[in-house]
Structures are given as structure tokens and as C-alpha cells.
């Protein structure tokens, strides 16, 4: 199927280059009293783009193409337009945050990326590309594209009738991967990546619902990671969790970005500042339709926003 042809070569050397050029990693401690955007994790690659300009920037490691490209995207439900005119490039292997007050179309846009609107009745216009592949192309298979674009939901939703292990490998099973040894291996790897292995390794076959909220969410992350996605969409993953669980997941997000591009929807500005490299601000237009107002590297956006509305939002004067 042509939908899955993109040769996703993984030259590990590129990553190494990036690290050498950029600033050393600073793992954030949540709650650090620094000015808003300072704690963000920076890398050598910074893809600065605004709604107006094309994808131009200075660094040579921009040779890495963006993981996801959106152009003129609009999502409509019947007569009601939920979000419009979104043009955005999501850089590979970084954390991009979609921020803004609730109701501005961030979640709707997120779900357009992995074609969940095929099942909700929303109509998606415009172009969404995963690398070179048109997500909504005529010969793109939704099942295959959804394997490559994973999703973590707002409330932890492990499959209730399955054990921890079965949950983690459920995606693999859906995709036709079998073999006990392989599944066990993949499960351990995914759980380690989600920082959950040590907690559950002795209770892999217990019902998944026995875990706490934060653990369940990490289980869902592990489940999404097990199918080796290129991109991970996260829809306010911490909103149903307590602060300690939230901190663990934020820490996890920054570490995961080394392997997987992350697009994070959050209405918590501080979380975005802590965790993301890029941010895109969504606000309600005058006709109550959500729109992308500005996007760019997180600290620029927070400290020197170009758009007046962004400035108001970031300063807490709106939303």
C-alpha cells in the first residue's frame, strides 16, 4: 500500500550532531521558579515558523524535514466550523505544544491529524502530511497511518477487560504481530520507555484497572509506543491527574521526544513552557471560530511574542 512507503531512515548520527550543536540538555524540575519560558528544553534545531512565512530558518540541521506539515487545515462539523486556516510545521523529534483556552479547536485539530474525525462526523479540509505522505490521500490507509501517529487521551483509558501486559501489546496484536517472545520483548521495551517497567514488572498479568491514575496513563503511553509510531499526539494527558503524577509524565515527555515527535495539547501555559520546544497559540476569532494565532520556539513565544493577541494571552489578560 503506497500509504506506508516512506523510508524512515533513522540515522542516529543526525541526533548526535544536533546535540553537539545545541545547548546541553537541561532536565527541568517542575515548579522551578524561573521566568516563564526559560526552563524549556532547547535543542540545536529550532524550526521557527509563523503563520505567514514559509519554512525558513538559519540552522543547517533544518535538513531534517518536519514530521508533520499542516496547510490550510479547516475542520467543520455540519455547518459549524471548529477551527480554521491552520498552517503549521511540526518539527521532528521535538515537543510541540498547542496551547490556548478551551474551545479553540486544539483538540479538534489534533484529532484531525490521526484521522479520528473519520468516525466523529467532522469534515477535514486542507492538507495534512506525515513526512511526504498525504494523511488524507486517496491511497492512504487510515489503519496504517494511525499506527504511525499514536495518541494518548485526556483520561487514561486502558482496555478494562485486559491485563497490563495485554494492554501494552494490544496495538501489536491489532497490527498482526504475534509471537510470545517478540511481544514480551516489545512490552518490556515500551514499559521501560514509559518509565513504568519497574512498577509493573511483577504484576504484568493483573487487570490494568488496578493501577493508579498516573500509572494507567503511563500504561497508555507505553501502549501507544509499542507500535513504534513516528509521532505521538497527546491530548491534555495530565488534566485528570494529580500534581505528582503530572510531574512524572512531563518528565517522561521530555525524554520521549528523543525518539518520537510529540504534539501536546495543553491549556496549561506553564506546562507548555516547561516541556515544549515549539508552541502554537490558538485563540477564538471574532466569529467564535478557533484559529492559529502564532507559532514559534517556546521561549520566543512567551518572552517576545510578535502578535498582540499572543502577548495578551501569555500575560494572562485573556482566556
Amino acid at each position: 500500500m503506497s500509504g506506508d512507503h516512506v523510508a524512515r531512515a533513522e540515522p542516529l548520527t543526525v541526533v548526535a550532531e544536533e546535540r553537539a550543536e545545541g545547548e546541553p540538555e537541561t532536565a527541568t524540575r517542575p515548579g522551578a521558579p524561573a521566568p516563564i519560558a526559560d526552563g524549556g528544553r532547547k535543542r540545536g534545531v529550532a524550526a521557527a515558523n509563523t503563520a505567514a512565512s514559509a519554512l525558513t530558518h538559519g540552522h543547517q540541521s533544518s535538513a531534517t524535514p518536519p514530521a508533520v506539515t499542516l496547510e490550510g487545515v479547516r475542520v467543520t462539523f455540519g455547518d459549524h466550523v471548529a477551527v480554521r486556516n491552520v498552517t503549521l510545521a511540526i518539527p521532528a523529534r521535538q515537543v510541540t505544544a498547542l496551547i490556548g483556552p478551551s474551545g479553540c479547536g486544539k483538540t479538534t485539530l489534533l484529532r484531525a491529524i490521526n484521522r479520528l474525525h473519520d468516525h466523529t462526523g467532522g469534515r477535514v479540509e486542507g492538507s495534512i502530511k506525515l513526512g511526504d505522505i498525504d494523511v488524507y490521500g486517496a491511497d492512504t490507509r487510515p489503519e496504517l497511518i494511525r499506527r504511525r501517529i499514536g495518541m494518548v487521551f485526556q483520561r487514561p483509558n486502558p482496555f478494562p477487560a485486559m491485563s497490563v501486559f495485554e494492554n501494552v501489546v494490544s496495538g501489536l496484536r491489532f497490527n498482526g504481530v504475534h509471537g510470545r517472545a517478540l511481544l514480551r520483548d516489545a512490552a518490556e521495551s515500551a514499559l521501560r520507555h514509559a518509565a513504568l517497567w519497574d512498577t509493573v514488572k511483577d504484576r504484568l498479568h493483573q487487570p490494568a484497572l488496578r493501577l493508579s491514575g498516573g500509572q494507567q496513563q503511563r500504561l497508555c503511553i507505553a501502549r501507544a509506543l509499542a507500535v513504534e509510531p513516528d509521532v505521538l499526539l497527546m491530548d491534555e494527558p495530565c488534566s485528570a491527574l494529580d500534581p505528582i503524577a503530572t510531574a512524572k509524565i512531563e518528565d517522561l515527555i521530555t525524554r520521549l521526544a528523543a525518539d518520537v515527535t510529540i504534539v501536546l495539547v495543553t491549556h496549561n501555559m506553564f506546562q507548555a513552557a516547561r516541556v515544549s520546544d515549539q508552541a502554537a497559540v490558538f485563540l477564538l476569532g471574532e466569529d467564535r471560530v478557533g484559529e492559529l494565532v502564532e507559532s514559534g520556539p517556546t521561549d520566543e513565544l512567551f518572552n517576545e511574542p510578535r502578535n498582540a493577541r499572543t502577548r495578551d494571552y501569555v500575560a494572562g489578560r485573556v482566556g
Binding site: L144, G176, E228
Partner: protein, 287 residues
């Protein structure tokens, strides 16, 4: 200990996903088709029932069929009027017994939340599942045996007992969904409980009450077994008439059975549809 390195696991998953896709899709299509067939099989009996009842019943149906009283066998021109009026009387009597009792019991359950109420509620639920034949036997043992006589009253009593638990639960649900806030507001304003109930709760829950009761009535109209044990003659109710005539080998008797079945079916379906429309109207208004 890794069986497979990270990079090649990635490739493996990608390849497996792609390779299995056709099979997964085909399986899904087949399964969907089977489920559609099941749905068809679920609708087919209704279609068949309607078809046969209407086609055979219509042959006998006429104005005189409905309006004339039955005549002795062999004499033409008879009808089922006694059965129709009989059903109406018995059900009417049953309603007179059941509706108020159910309403009051539901108010009781609505207000109280103790152990007693829970037991009552549970027994009402269990009672809704008691086979109607048992209720017929009960009415027989209670009212027919001691008095040595069948009676319309016994039949009405049986139907009332049948409807009672259904109505109680439906009434209570209606009150709970609609009227809890109204009730508390009324009480908080200091009104007497009886007054609040009458003017506020019942009025607020009325549409839902009507719907729930309509369904119970539709059920009662169609019951045969309770009547088998309590009525003296099959001419006194439609369902019993269908049973007695339908099980005879004579074509004329069977024709009468079909005609009566058509009348009964029409009436019951009308009631059910009316209940559904009422429910639909209510939910629209609530929105």
C-alpha cells in the same frame, strides 16, 4: 535481553502492519456482513408476523365482525364484540386498581431511602420477571378457588398484579428524573409534603408517567395466561378467544382467531407507538 534490536523491531512492526492489513479488512467486512444478516434475522419475525396476521385477519375483518356479538357455531353473522368490550372492561378495571396503587407506592419509594424501600424496590424488579402464568395461578388460588367461580374481577386483579411492579418502577423513575429538584424546592419553601407531591411532583413527572404506564397497559392487553385461570368463557376477552379458537381444527374457528389477532395487534401496536411518540416528545422538550 532483547530478542530483536530496536531498529529492526520497528521494521518488523511496520511490515507486519502492512502485510496483515488486507486480511484484517476482509475479516472485518465479513464480520460486518454477518452482523447485518443477524439484524435482518431480528427484523424478519416481525415482518412475517405482520404479514400473516394482516393477510389472514383481513379476510375476516369487517364492520359486522367487530360489532356483532358471537353467534352459536353454525350460525353466520357472528362477531367478536363481546371479546372486545370484555377486554376493555377487564383492563379498565385493572387500571382502576393498579394506577393509584402504583403511584402511591412510587411516591413512597421516591421519598424514602431506607432498607425497607430498597427491599420493596428489589422485589418490584424481580416481580416484573415473574411469568404471567404464575400470576394467573395466584389470582385463581386467591379469588376463584375460594369463591368457586370465575369472574371478571379475578381477571382484572390478575392483570393489575401484572402491571403493578412495572408501573411502580416506571413511576418512580419518572419522578426521580424530573422532579427531585422541584420536590426539594417545594419542601424548602415549607409546604406540606402532600401538597408538594400533588401539585409539583406529579405535574412535573406527568409526561413520563403517562409513557411508562402506556407500555404497561399495552402489555396487559396482550396477556392470555392470567385470563386462562380467571375467566369463565373465552368470549370475555380477545386473547382468550384467540387461544381457544386458534387451537381448534376448524377453519372457521381459525379465521376468527386471525381476525381477533389482527384487532388485538393493531390495538397493542397503537399503544406502543403512542408511548414511543410521547417519550420522544418529552425528550425533545427537555432539550
Amino acid at each position: 535481553m532483547s530478542v530483536v534490536s530496536a531498529v529492526s523491531r520497528r521494521e518488523l512492526v511496520r511490515a507486519a502492519a502492512q502485510r496483515s492489513l488486507t486480511r484484517r479488512r476482509v475479516t472485518g467486512r465479513i464480520a460486518q456482513a454477518l452482523c447485518a444478516v443477524a439484524a435482518l434475522a431480528a427484523v424478519a419475525p416481525l415482518v412475517a408476523l405482520l404479514y400473516y396476521t394482516i393477510s389472514r385477519g383481513a379476510q375476516v375483518l369487517s364492520w359486522s365482525f367487530l360489532v356483532n356479538a358471537p353467534t352459536p357455531p353454525g350460525i353466520p353473522g357472528g362477531g367478536i364484540s363481546t371479546a372486545i368490550t370484555g377486554t376493555a372492561e377487564i383492563v379498565g378495571l385493572a387500571l382502576v386498581i393498579a394506577i393509584p396503587t402504583a403511584l402511591l407506592a412510587a411516591l413512597f419509594l421516591f421519598e424514602r431511602s431506607g432498607r425497607l424501600a430498597a427491599v420493596l424496590r428489589f422485589s418490584a424488579d424481580v416481580l416484573t420477571g415473574v411469568p404471567s402464568i404464575i400470576i394467573g395461578i395466584f389470582a385463581y388460588a386467591l379469588l376463584v378457588l375460594p369463591l368457586h367461580a370465575f369472574s371478571d374481577l379475578a381477571a382484572a386483579f390478575a392483570l393489575a398484579v401484572l402491571m403493578l411492579p412495572i408501573m411502580i418502577r416506571a413511576d418512580e423513575e419518572a419522578m426521580r428524573t424530573i422532579a427531585l429538584d422541584l420536590w426539594e424546592a417545594g419542601i424548602a419553601l415549607g409546604a406540606r409534603r402532600g401538597r408538594v407531591a400533588r401539585s409539583v411532583v406529579l405535574r412535573g413527572a406527568l409526561p413520563d408517567l403517562v409513557t411508562g404506564n402506556l407500555l404497561a397497559i399495552a402489555r396487559a392487553v396482550g396477556e392470555t395466561a392470567p385470563l386462562l385461570f380467571t375467566l369463565a368463557t373465552p368470549l370475555a376477552a380477545m386473547t382468550l378467544l384467540i387461544y381457544t379458537d386458534g387451537t381448534q381444527a376448524f377453519p372457521i374457528a381459525q379465521e376468527t382467531a386471525w381476525g381477533t389477532a389482527l384487532v388485538l395487534l393493531a390495538f397493542v401496536l397503537l399503544l406502543s407507538v403512542a408511548a414511543k411518540i410521547a417519550a420522544w416528545r418529552i425528550s425533545r422538550r427537555a432539550r
